[in-house]
Amino acid sequence: MSYQNPPTTPRKSATFDDFTTSEIRRAAATGIYDIRGGGAKRKVPHFDDLLFLGASISRYPLEGYREKCETSVVLGARFARKPIELKIPITIAGMSFGSLSGQAKEALGRGATLAGTSTTTGDGGMTEEERGHSQTLVYQYLPSRYGMNPRDLRRADAIEIVIGQGAKPGGGGMLLGQKISDRVADMRTLPKGIDQRSACRHPDWTGPDDLEIKILELREITNWEKPIYVKVGGARPYYDTALAVKAGADVVVLDGMQGGTAATQEVFIENVGMPTLACIRPAVQALQDLGMHRKVQLVISGGIRSGADVAKALALGADAVSIGTAALIAIGDNDPRWEADYNALGTTAGAYDDWHEGKDPAGITTQDPELSQRLDPVAAGRRLANYLKVMTLETQTIARACGKNHVHNLEPEDLCALTIEASAMAQVPLAGTSWIPGKGGF
């Protein structure tokens, strides 16, 4: 009987893990960088790393279901003659017709309207479906200016000047040929089937001084009626917020790296921009330094999933939050009911992110007429409304437990952090201590 040395267990490299090696093989085979939809998938410090303290002897809570806890928010009161008032502090983020089907845009409008909040257009212009089904519609003003026209500006309820988004601060958009249907091509004045590139920079202004003049022009065109938002990706939140305020924004929308995109390079999504959690306090600090906190509203987006996330963002100083990915999941994106179809595409429910290919089994991120038919906009709108209402109830539950009669009364003092990283980013004490890294000299 021969002796064999005991073998070691096969061990894979932590550096060259399965995903990394598969990406190297994919790049070598195709010669094209990987493009996908969604936001950062890597684990980053997030709202899960914060906890609420709740009330006890030193402060008293409000009775759940009995004592009122308000949730309304007014956006745009700084300069706009017609600010918008939302029943809940959760809005639907900008997503384009083109990246999404007409049915999906309609569902978002229906759901937002049922829940008393706003939805937002995207790159590619305003569709009749979303205008018709959205009580409050924010019209994005993007570098590409696809479909931009003064009629839609006038019939919008607010204008959002998009400078960046969290998934790709500094990057433009991309809509691959598979999704440029006749209708999408017509709205964007482009030939059908080409890869449509959206510029990363506005064509007729650069820098904060120009932005101030651009905002003046948009206000003059719309007779100073519409709130003007400025949306930035989470990169330098203190300075970007300060410059947006200086340029005359009514609202600053700040999108962290977990915020999704219809399609961009994987390397961009995972390696450019900051986590949402790290963006909020510097932005709030900028507003406070300028004496504009609560006068210019701050809307936070990027990875908001529940009422707990909403409450934490508000407690850190935001006026409202915006959801994109979560809203798509609510209307049916990545639903396990389509598992066989996801498998056929080489993926699984929950991981599908090749939205640019236009083959979405759920009929949401596609222009394919047959797939689009899978989404019933009325039922999907109802699901979104349900989800928004649950998030609102959850936010109120936490706010009442902290003794607040308006969700905006939540404050950093209500929070503690589970990790040193989250403590440093959110600038709330590490749980069980009074320590915030970087504060008090150490």
Partner: protein, 228 residues
Amino acid sequence: MPVIDLAVTPLRELNQALHDLTSGSNDTHFEVINPRGHHAVAVGVDQPVTVDVKGSVGYYCAGMNEQATITIHGSAGPGVAENMMSGTVVVKGDASQYAGATGRGGLLVIEGNASSRCGISMKGIDIVVHGNIGHMSAFMAQAGNLVVLGDAGEALGDSLYEARIFVRGAVKSLGADCIEKEMRPAHLEILAGLLDKAGVADVRPEEFKRYGSARKLYNFHIDNADAY
């Protein structure tokens, strides 16, 4: 004819008066004096009114114009007639950067020179420049016609889509995917019509060269990466 003196009247009143015009309104001709480089003069007009601006303007004059005929008797700052939908805008002097940016229709005539990025992302507008244009003009231009009687700067028509470019003088360099194309009778006809509309009488369409997209960058391919 209303005369609005921007030395004493706020810009807001001028634009509101223009926006308050309705179809069949009695006021069909406005004169704006002392514009003194004001930004956003006569923006968002959507009636077939005539506006004469007596002097030079700042950014975005005649922005998003629909139907109106707006003449600037001076020079224009950045973004003149940006995103114009229809109507006519004439600049008697020179125009700064981004003239006619993203314009979707109508006619923009610049009787002097235009700076860089003239016609950037144009989406159907016609632009006629009597003088020269600066670098990166017609960048990512999607549709419409850019006519230049003088010379064009570097990287003309970079990454352009279906817009047509006609240049009578020299082109310093062409941008990625922009090539010289054959001038066919149909193009000469389009050009003759544009020159006529722009009031250019002493120039023949045959004196121009035509430039357009090679359409090689319409769908991404790694072997074209050097072009980006």
